[in-house]
């Protein structure tokens, strides 16, 4: 690193620093092994994206194949459908699901009865603890041909469809269930930041005759604006990881048109068919794109809130 010879004094300091942290290094040994084996070990496996992987030859002796799998993935017309579905689903999430916890937090924060507030909070966090499988079970059962929601729609409109296999209905189902699952839990962070707003501001506003509505608009919302923008950026940064577990459980051949996203396609085309090289190529693409998105989001967050996401 440095050309000039390291002075003995500096080396002594360096060694002393090392010896000083011997216990900490000992402690960190197991986590380090974990990261190397399971995280960086997995990264090493991404090499097979450039190889024609054969289980017999293993990772190192499999034949190099260049960027064939990337070309195959990016050149496929289906790729654009995956991109479209991922982007559209995220846009829907940002427009319909993202604001709900903010409204919820503002409403809870404005309510004057402590017990009511507590009850609403306790109830609204419940869905967070319901597993993805259970949520999907509730959805499929309520939307089945003799399910509750289907019955209600039939009673109201006189007709009903098979909503689970209807590509047009898939996004609505996904977004509504996402609101159900995450809105309450998502409001915690906004509630915390609302609690940090100086009460003096509200008092001053009341003396000036500002209504509750005006107080929300001019004190509460600006007070949590930076948290909102950071959450928004985080959502955008994680865009490519969009709930594939849920989609994996909910979609079917007839809804691929709107439901299939990069990660579900990856599972179907790679794990299920044991085409691991192709899978790693898609993963690598996805990982790099995500990294770029998150980094951009972090840069933007720094500008807004003078705070970094990590």
């Amino acid at each position: 690193m440095v050309k000039a010879p390291v002075s003995p004094a500096r080396r002594r300091k360096w060694v002393k620093h090392l010896i000083d942290s011997k216990w900490l290094l000992l402690m960190f040994f197991l986590p380090l092994v974990y990261f190397i084996v399971f995280k960086y070990g997995a990264m090493t496996w991404l090499i097979i994206a450039f190889k024609k992987f054969s289980a017999v030859k293993g990772i190192w002796r499999s034949r190099w194949i260049g960027t064939k799998y990337f070309e195959q993935f990016l050149g496929d017309a289906y790729f654009w459908k995956l991109v479209r579905n991922t982007v559209v689903m995220n846009l829907y999430l940002i427009v319909f699901s993202f604001p709900v916890p903010i409204f919820l937090a503002l409403l809870i924060n404005e309510h004057r009865v402590k017990y009511f507030r507590k009850t609403v909070q306790t109830i609204s966090y419940i869905p967070y603890f319901v597993s993805t499988v259970a949520v999907c079970g509730l959805i499929t059962t309520m939307l089945s041909s003799d399910g509750m929601i289907t019955n209600v729609i039939r009673a109201l409109t006189g007709s009903s469809k098979a909503y689970l296999t209807d590509p047009k209905a898939f996004r609505v189902i996904y977004i509504v269930s996402e609101i159900w699952s995450t809105a309450g839990w998502g409001s915690i962070i906004y509630l915390a930041s609302l609690a940090g707003i100086d009460p003096g501001l509200y008092e001053a506003a009341q003396i000036d005759g500002a209504s509750r509505w005006k107080q929300i608009l001019h004190i509460s919302l600006p007070g949590i604006a930076s948290v909102i923008s950071i959450q928004l950026l985080l959502t955008i940064g994680r865009m490519l990881d969009i709930g594939y577990e849920k989609i994996l459980l909910l979609y079917s051949g007839s809804t691929y048109e709107t439901a299939d996203v990069v990660s579900t396609y990856l599972y179907r085309r790679s794990i299920l068919t044991a085409d691991y090289s192709y899978g790693c190529a898609i993963s690598l693409f996805q990982g790099v794109m995500s990294l770029l998105l998150v980094s951009a989001a972090n840069k933007a967050a720094k500008q807004i809130g003078e705070t970094s996401l990590w």
Partner: protein, 298 residues
């Protein structure tokens, strides 16, 4: 948080009172609506799961059971695979959480100490794995090549450290006053002793939060089992639930299966989520506290 909660309860000017009362009513109405939206599927699930198949089939059950019966629960529990899967879930949750909290805390502590040799480098090493997601195929290949497939270690090891949880813990450790470390040092305690005898005991709140995060995550996950477990005897409850709830989707044609179908599915869902729902209200403050610590960083 609670201290500042009472801030709106000042005497108001009469002129405003009317508009504010309307606001209060609207607020209560909206929040009540939201709670109903949240509770509706759960209450419906409970009602149907306790109802007689005939009433369910006729669509008569909404929020209150009709023809009350425990038939579904009895038939679920008499099938041996469900108690067995339940036991698997308990095992995976308990061991997984124990391993994860151990690994996470011995990872977070060194990274929280300013004097730790190579702290910046190791922190980056850890954080980078959160930013760059290698994807399920590469993770699958690691588990496969280590020969962990179809063993309990495939469920426990790959998720031993959740970097996000680790960062929450590290943030908490960093908030402990430096004097505590100094006095421990003066007393001749080395870093290991300081950690286990002084830091861990005063970190109970954050440890409780992280334990709960891990436990809920472990209880609810199904992907590791889907990827790594080929034998039904190793399936956790979530996998069994997945098969019960989703497999019959296509084949739900015979009236006989439809007769119990819905109630059985709802009962299976309820059995799976019940333990967490039962303990959650008592542990709520630990969950929210964890989130707060996480949001304080930066």
């Amino acid at each position: 948080m609670e201290k500042t909660k009472e801030r709106h309860d000042h005497p108001m000017k009469v002129r405003q009172a009317r508009g504010d009362r309307a606001f209060g009513l609207l607020n209560t109405a909206l929040l009540t609506l939201f709670c109903l939206f949240v509770l509706f599927p759960l209450v419906h699930m409970l009602a149907v799961s306790f109802s007689g198949g005939y009433h369910v089939l006729r669509g008569e059950v909404t929020f209150w059971p009709k023809g009350m019966t425990l038939y579904t629960y009895r038939s679920l529990l008499s099938d041996n695979s469900i108690p067995h899967a339940y036991w698997n879930t308990i095992r995976y949750t308990f061991l997984g959480t124990a391993l994860a909290i151990f690994m996470t805390s011995i990872c977070a502590y060194p990274l929280s100490r300013p004097k730790f040799f190579g702290r910046k480098f190791f922190s980056f090493l850890a954080i980078f794995t959160m930013l760059f997601n290698v994807g399920m195929v590469a993770n699958f290949m690691v588990v496969y090549s280590l020969g962990l497939k179809n063993t309990i270690y495939a469920i426990l090891f790959p998720t031993a450290i959740n970097v996000y949880n680790m960062v929450i813990m590290r943030t908490f450790f960093q908030g402990i006053p430096e004097e505590i470390y100094e006095s421990a040092n003066l007393d001749g305690a080395n870093d290991l002793r300081t950690f286990f005898q002084i830091i861990l005991p005063i970190s109970k709140p954050v440890i409780a939060s992280i334990v709960l995060f891990y436990a809920v995550g472990k209880w609810n996950e199904f992907m590791p089992a889907l990827l790594y477990m080929d034998n039904k005897k190793d399936y956790p409850m979530q996998m069994i639930l997945r098969n019960i709830v989703l497999s019959s989707q296509a084949t739900d044609t015979s009236t006989d299966s439809a007769l119990v179908g819905q109630s059985l599915k709802y009962a299976a869902i309820f059995i799976t989520i019940a333990p967490i729902l039962a303990v959650y209200p008592f542990l709520q403050k630990f969950f929210t506290k964890g989130i707060m610590i996480g949001s304080l960083k930066g």
